[in-house]
């Protein structure tokens, strides 16, 4: 059992979720309430990781992370090390890959709040931030929770993009999914099997938890 890889996967999932939480709430809310030119295009771009092969996404990320690209160069000058094949690069890739899983459920949750309810909050004297905190977030919470859990579970399971931009550096970029692949390559079927089973169990537990929570939330709001 590669405990280092498991720990790395859990860390990667946690950091990804933490970064996606504010980003997802902001983007989901904007897409739900604002009408602006190019909104459909933005929505399509958000959904793109769902349909692109991981190799395509990974290729572009790898190019963007390189020291020849502006992003890669900026990171190199700030952090003193390269973005590709690093944990930070993996985090960034993971955030981008998970955008649809984070934004779409949150957007639906904000859209489900009746406009009159938000207007009533303003007519109660609440400034916009209070409306967000007291009314919108509590009502959108089940969707936000679903988004976070889906992103976490999906991060644990991501393989293609991680392989493209991270490679398989133990303790840095080798996630459980990559470790399983390595075990299979090394003909260690027993090791691969143990890790695969663990990943199945963790993912199953995470998604079941999300179902339980959202059902409980749903009941409270009916």
């Amino acid at each position: 059992m590669d405990w280092t890889a498991l720990w790395l996967s859990l860390r990667l999932g946690a950091v990804t979720v933490l970064l996606l939480l504010p980003l997802g709430i902001w983007a989901g809310r904007v897409l739900a309430y604002r009408r602006f030119l190019g909104r459909t295009l933005v929505e399509a771009a958000v959904a793109l990781p769902l349909v692109l092969p991981p190799t395509v996404l990974g290729y572009y990320l790898l190019v963007g992370f390189g020291v020849d690209a502006p992003l890669g160069r900026l990171w190199q000058s700030l952090a003193g090390r390269q973005l590709a094949f690093s944990f930070e690069g993996l985090v960034l890739a993971s955030v981008i890959v998970n955008l649809p899983f984070a934004i779409q459920p949150i957007q639906r949750a904000f859209e489900a709040i009746p406009r009159a309810v938000r207007e009533a909050a303003a007519c109660c004297g609440m400034p916009p931030f209070a409306v967000l905190r007291r009314i919108e977030l509590p009502l959108a919470w089940p969707g936000i929770l679903t988004a976070m859990i889906l992103s976490f579970a999906h991060t644990l399971g991501e393989f293609g993009v991680v392989l493209m931009v991270g490679g398989s550096i133990p303790g840095e970029t080798r996630t459980v999914a990559i470790a399983i692949y390595d075990r299979v390559q090394a003909l260690d079927e027993a090791g691969a099997g143990r890790m695969a089973l663990l990943l199945v169990l963790i993912s199953l537990a995470t998604i079941a938890l999300s179902f339980v929570l959202s059902r409980r939330m749903g009941r409270r709001l009916d």
Binding site: V117, E119, A120, A121, C123, G125, M126, R134
Partner: protein, 369 residues
């Protein structure tokens, strides 16, 4: 404490509205759906922007497009009761009301919210979520929440449309009681003229975003300023005639209609010879007893033939085709027993009187001629 509103725009929703509502007054905005009633209410609250306009309340300027003032809704002291009530589904009745008490110190909010719920007869239901309340109870929570902010104006958007008739009548009484203790202007949007007549001090008739006429409910309904208002307030007998002359001393105006000359209430604004539109309410047309033929002593006798009718409740709604004006119809509403006693049936000949005081003249509507 008074509200003054002027709104104008061409698109997306055309508006040309002027209205004013005094302290303690209830002004009803009535008009068909799509007439802009709710839009005006939302513009007062700041929930939508308008191209040009000015909204002031107690001298405080909430909107003045000429000098670029557009206060956001949370900075306008409005109490707004939404058609769907728009209660916060995740908060108890008490917390719904407390949410509008942000101007009070935290510790006092719950006490004040409880007393507001008490005021709308909801004591004991503080802990209920909106989903656990009946329609009428939800409406009361919405009213309590609207009042919680100590608003400078109360805005009610069709607040009675989502409840059954019995609950509605109960809520009418509660609103009338509540009003007695309110010293602020209240604007009620409704498509129901009877509701407006029942509750409002004055009403404003709207059509396609334009305010057409404002006045006491009975005045607007009995003396519409135009054919358009008459139509919107459900006037049945819209006819055209010519002014024959005035007798100011006798308080009479003579109106020529078909081959008849009718006596009407003095309305000197229309010069002799002018074409006018005129109306008389079906209830102001009196049937003569057929067993004792009229000797012509009553006001404005009109002889004709009864048309088809339908019975609605205790009344017969029918019409009379005058012998002198075969192209016209006079709608009549007769108590069933009167109709029966006089043998009123389709094809029967009958004579009616048009009450002179009820004959109301209006400018000829270009659209009708």
């Amino acid at each position: 404490m008074s509200l003054e509103v002027e709104l104008a725009q061409g698109a997306p929703i055309p508006l040309a509205a002027t209205l004013a509502c005094g302290p303690g007054e209830l002004l009803a905005l009535v008009g068909p759906s799509g007439s802009g009633k709710t839009t005006i209410l939302r513009a007062i609250a700041g929930l939508i922007g308008v191209a040009r306009g000015r909204v002031t309340c107690n001298g405080a300027v909430w909107l003045d497009t000429a000098i670029g003032i557009r206060l956001p809704p949370h900075r306008r002291r409005v109490g707004f009761v939404f058609q769907s009530y728009a209660l916060f589904p995740h908060l108890s009745a008490l917390d719904n009301v407390a949410a509008a008490l942000r101007h009070l110190p935290r510790g006092e909010r719950r006490i004040r919210a409880a007393s507001l719920l008490e005021r709308v007869h909801l004591g004991g239901l503080e802990a209920r979520l909106p989903g656990e309340l009946s329609g009428g109870q939800q409406q009361r929570v919405a009213v309590a929440r609207a009042l919680a902010r100590e608003p400078a104006v109360l805005l009610l958007d069709e607040p009675f449309s989502a409840v059954d008739k019995i609950t509605r009548e109960k809520l009418y009484r509660e609103l009338v009681e509540l009003r007695a203790s309110l010293a602020i202007p209240t604007v009620l949007v409704t498509h129901d003229l009877d509701e407006a007549a029942l509750l409002a001090d004055r009403l404003t008739v709207l059509h396609r975003g334009r305010t057409l006429q404002t006045g006491a409910p009975l005045e607007v309904m009995q003396r519409p300023a135009s054919v358009e208002v008459a139509r919107l307030t459900g006037a049945r007998n819209l006819l055209t005639g010519t002014v024959a002359g005035h007798e100011p001393d006798a308080g009479r105006t003579w109106l020529r209609w078909g081959g008849l000359t009718l006596e009407a209430r003095l309305q000197p604004a229309f010069p002799p010879g002018a074409s006018v539109a005129w109306t008389v309410a079906p209830g102001d047309i009196i049937l003569h007893r057929r067993d004792r033929p009229s000797r012509g002593e009553r006001e404005n006798p009109v002889k004709g033939t009864i048309g088809d009718g339908i019975v609605l409740g205790e009344s017969l709604h029918t019409w009379l085709v005058p012998d002198t004006a075969p192209g016209s119809r006079l709608a009549l509403v007769l108590p069933i027993h009167t109709a029966r006693r006089n043998g009123i049936a389709p094809g029967v000949s009958a004579t009616v009187s048009l009450l002179a005081a009820a004959i109301h003249l209006m400018p000829v509507d270009d659209a009708t001629t």
